[in-house]
Symmetry: C2
Subunit: 218 residues, 2 copies
DNA sequence: TAGATTGTTAATCGATTAACAATC
DNA sequence: TAGATTGTTAATCGATTAACAATC
């Protein structure tokens, strides 16, 4: 194994916590703080300091004992690791409730993703704009993906259409799909799919609530 | 340890996968299928059959070797475990992009949660209806929580307001908060918080894409 | 009966937590 | 110097995966 191929293992749980740190760090940066310790960050984010320390390893920034980590370097390191320092273009298919919400959601804008247009098969929606972005006919998606070299697709279509729209995206050149449907997409191995499932969060809440209730009644 | 207190450990990863099974099982049920095997379910959901078998233990339904699990019993078992057989009322605070999307999102309706009203501090929004539900002034929330004995609150307010609105909910009697802000809420130990974080999903997608790209270039 | 599938117990794997030396 | 904090290595914990006997 050469040095180049010997890359560090990236733990997904750590990756998923990075945006949380980023958010807090940016606030600190605005406040003019130059250094931050893991203990302090841990308090803010509601985790243990050891977790934070392990997670920040990813950014590749070295801290100073007794002082902490340099805030701006840390922000840069995390953003660089996530590839969020320069925004990536994305197309969104399915401009329903959720789809239009995502098009207007600040959280996405601030996190390196730029939804350049929305697509829908409903003629009543095409031609309009949602949060300043055009809604185009779904059938125009493949052509525009090729012309604009868009690599990320956001899937907010109804479940029945999910697989076929995903295939449409992939054959046009989309390499990453952010899947908000509850469908398990069958894709080529070189395409990355991130499934975002609100109902699984709700399931977790339901069970935690039930458990808390049970404990209270004991 | 008595038999009553010796409850089974519930693994959260399994809980989070339950809604996925539920969705597929309901489709099978409509199609008139009576039994389903773990191998078949695994194919549909894109997981290994052993994972499925372990997960379904939770529902407490016994399957028949060579035949599989009875579909309708399995649905009932899962719904019962999640407490989704009779819908729970919930209030939503913060009727912005995401808030109104959630109010209209079918996925929530079908999953045991009934958003009865939305609340917002913006006078321009109060008095209107979103997806058939009334939008009321935020200050009326505590009183209505008490009167209607609502136990679940959905938090889609801006980050700055998150902590104070959460406290308002809790002191009125809310026991579970579905938190869509990126704020780590400081709450009493008897209140359950489920944080739903879109940006963490985006972080995962970004990293997976970067890795796939790297592999391709090798 | 043979084969497919369940259900349980054991083995592996990975993530979290703890411990502690190094450092400013 | 003393104390706080980093950074690394080891220990624990939990989830996933594998193995296999029981069963229809």
């Amino acid at each position: 194994m050469t040095l180049e191929t010997m890359e560090k293992v990236v733990r997904m749980p750590s990756v998923k916590r990075l945006p949380g740190y980023l958010c807090i760090l940016k606030r600190f940066h605005i406040q003019g703080r130059e250094f931050v310790s893991t203990t302090h960050l841990a308090d803010e984010i509601g985790l243990g300091p050891i977790v934070v320390r392990k997670d920040l390893e990813i950014a590749g920034i070295t801290g100073k004992p007794k002082v902490g980590y340099p805030v701006s370097e840390l922000i840069e390191g995390i953003e660089n690791f996530l590839g969020w320092n320069n925004a990536t273009d994305a197309f969104l298919a399915g401009v329903g409730c959720l789809g239009s919400a995502l098009m207007g959601y600040q959280g996405i804008r601030n996190n390196g993703l730029n939804i350049v247009a929305g697509f829908d098969s409903d003629p009543a929606k095409t031609g309009t704009t949602v949060h300043g972005r055009q809604i185009l006919p779904l059938k125009k998606l493949p052509d525009l993906v090729k012309r604009m070299h868009v690599k990320i697709g956001i899937l907010t279509v109804p479940a029945e259409a999910a697989q076929s729209v995903a295939e449409m995206m992939i054959s046009a050149g989309i390499k990453g799909i952010w899947n908000f449907t509850n469908v398990d997409l069958k894709t080529d191995s070189d395409v990355v799919v991130q499934k975002e499932d609100l109902s699984s969060g709700l399931a977790a809440l339901s069970v935690k609530l039930k458990r808390a209730k049970g404990k209270q009644e004991e």
